[in-house]
Subunit: 423 residues, 2 copies
């Protein structure tokens, strides 16, 4: 009996919301290191076999090593290979086929029992989500307080300052320096929304720029807009009874600014209805707000003035052409995963698919990091303390290709002369 | 204000029970890739600085690349470097120090608010554990059923077989072959514990050998004992009200065998009372059963017969010497993490510490995998289906050192002649 599953390519690589690894897993790399000698011993080049009592230790899944590739290239390759191996790995060496019918019936029955397990597990994971939602309500007043303080709408209490000083003492050890006493009359008083104090200027922009993945997305132009970012919150989907989609929504709150008219921008991450094989929710897709850019303020475009010559009349005119450009705000136009139909019918070019999968993974990872790490402890991202807990990768810089995560601008097909480039 | 935390080395690397990455995280590697150019631009060789509005994009934590190292070596190095960087990373570039007292007070207040967050988060994570415990009770009848079927204590029902056939159809697609009809009189009937049928012989041994990490631990000698492994279950700690330690316990059930008298062997994984920085429980230590080996049956030892010469009388006698040896059953004598005192006083040799940390990580990872992947879906490990979902590492075999995870046997100091080696 062969147990060969047709895995849709996108489910192989989609990170799971509960289980997206936040750090590298050297131990897993060790566990799954290729075991080339085993394959050679078995004398089979194109088929792996699971262990069976008669086959001894031949259960290792191996593949001849590919040298000279950086980790990210290896990851891509391994996805591709994995797709192909899915038709090889897990094929029995004949051990299961060789078993008596009675034993085969028992194995089949266990598969049946497993179906019930999966049903209960889905209930379990839904309750874990409900628990997140329940605790989100308990965290909310603390996040409200954070917002008031960062905006200067309210002065910190002496209890808050004392608790913070206690933390600084623990964090800084010998380097701890007490908060200086404010000189008389230097503190703003009677703070309200209408009469704000200093707050903490550019709190969120600074916090986001201390996150390596986000810092990569934020351009200098974006920074001017992100100075107006006053809060980020998580909420859970479905937002009301009856809505089906499970997942979470990030809401970015902005003060009035020169760039767009939206007061909030949202990014929703939606889970598939079925758990992934490992028993966790898996992302189905992400959806972002449409941004209502003010005139000529679209940060996701660069504009180019071109001379265009009419081939018949030979007259020229100036036109303004928009090109997609790098911007944090592309986060609100996430990549769209290919449909399973398109995948099955081979309508998606392999290279395109690779590129798309990488952009999807980055998008999911950034959303996950905002939800799990940045929003919960934003002050640590502001001060830099969170960086101490970042996994530091010692990989050789040379192993990485510079990647352009933006779409390439369309090939210019008109008969144009470039006149100028304006941001 | 510097926010430099003294991280105990063992907490840097301890995988978290909720969040141990099960697959490699290429995306994280990408996010945390070294950003050497940034460091060079800032003109500082020995200090990183978090981003601040004035410092632009300099928030990346980087470190000059080390080439020619495999992933596991890099991981070790990065742990070491991380330990040292903890005194560098997160130090402010002076931005925070330069802020007015009012803003500093606000930042300190946010740290105070964060203390309340951490308290609520701990409640949250405890409830997640309680949910696991609650659902473990719902899964238990299915695992009981699995045990009955594998031991042949009960015949599969036609509903179980039908559900399993349905799964095989989905899994195998075009390769699906229906379960053959049993020839008349070939099935055992009236099955009970006293009158068992064929069951599924060596179910657990086969399942464990299909897990790459476990297969590495299981020797041929171990296999003879593991043929008697009839079940593995998870339970949650504390087991009764009043016990403090949180965590989980793996129980291995054995049928009577020639090797040891224990009917069960257990391995408990205990969490620290405080959450780790990322908000997950972190392992404190693991504890295993003492195994009551029958005479000369200890699989974790190899015995050597030696001739010993008395230096004074010059007479010789034969002695039997035990050496620690590779065995799956060493899993029940897990490595003991060094105390924080010993670490702080520098009593632990750096090389020893590295070795210990690696063995601890492997031990935690194996426990985690048994709990999260093998026990929930043991039939898929038996058939090999679970292997299809394993992350396949394409790393070059040459990048890995062969590592001996066992303790070296003590240097022989007696005046011995080796006579024989007996297993």
């Amino acid at each position: 009996m062969s147990s060969n599953v047709n895995i849709p390519q996108s489910s192989v690589t989609a990170p799971t919301p509960q289980n997206t690894p936040l750090t590298n897993a050297p131990i897993t790399q060790h566990l799954s290191r290729p075991t080339v000698p085993d394959i050679q011993e078995s004398g089979e080049d194109d088929e792996e076999e699971p262990a069976s009592p008669s086959a001894g230790k031949s259960g290792n899944v191996g593949q001849a090593g590919v040298s000279g590739l950086g980790p990210s290239q290896q990851a891509i390759l391994s996805q591709l290979v994995q797709g192909r191996l899915s038709s090889l790995v897990g094929k029995s060496s004949g051990y299961i086929e060789s078993l008596p019918v009675e034993v085969k019936r028992n194995i089949t029955a266990l598969k049946g029992v497993q179906v019930d397990f999966t049903k209960i597990q889905k209930e379990h994971k839904k309750e874990v989500l409900e628990l997140e939602r329940k605790f989100a309500a308990r965290y909310a007043p603390l996040f409200d307080r954070r917002r008031e303080i960062t905006l200067g709408h309210s002065a910190p209490t002496s209890a808050e300052i004392a608790a913070g000083e206690e933390e600084s003492r623990k964090d800084d050890g010998e380097d701890y320096t007490p908060l200086p006493a404010p000189a008389a009359g230097t503190l703003s008083t009677n703070l309200t929304k209408e009469n704000p104090g200093a707050g903490i200027p550019e709190f969120w922009l600074t916090a986001l720029r201390n996150h390596i993945g986000l810092a990569d997305l934020i351009t200098e132009r974006d920074a001017d807009a992100l100075k107006h970012l006053v809060d980020i919150r998580v909420s859970y989907l479905p937002e009301k009874e009856g809505d089906a989609a499970m997942g979470f929504k990030l809401t970015f709150f902005f003060s009035p600014n020169d760039f767009f008219t939206n007061e909030t921008l949202t990014k929703s991450y939606i889970y598939r209805d079925e758990l992934g094989y490992e028993g966790d929710f898996v992302y189905e897709r992400a959806v972002g707000s449409e941004i209502n850019w003010k005139d000529e303020k679209d940060l996701t475009k660069s504009f180019e003035i071109k001379k265009q010559r009419n081939k018949n009349t030979n007259r020229t005119r100036l036109i303004r052409k928009a090109h997609p450009t790098d911007s944090f705000f592309n986060f609100f136009s996430p990549p769209i995963p290919p449909s399973e139909d398109a995948l099955e019918n081979g309508e998606v070019d392999e290279e395109e698919l690779e590129d798309l999968e990488e952009r999807l993974e980055l998008d999911y990872q950034i959303g996950e990091d905002l939800k799990e790490r940045v929003i919960p402890r934003a002050v640590d991202w502001f001060t830099g303390k969170a960086l101490e807990y970042e996994d530091i990768d010692m990989g050789d810089e040379d192993e990485f290709d510079d990647e352009d995560l933006e779409e390439d601008s369309d090939e210019e097909e008109e008969d144009d002369d470039e006149v100028g480039h304006r941001h």
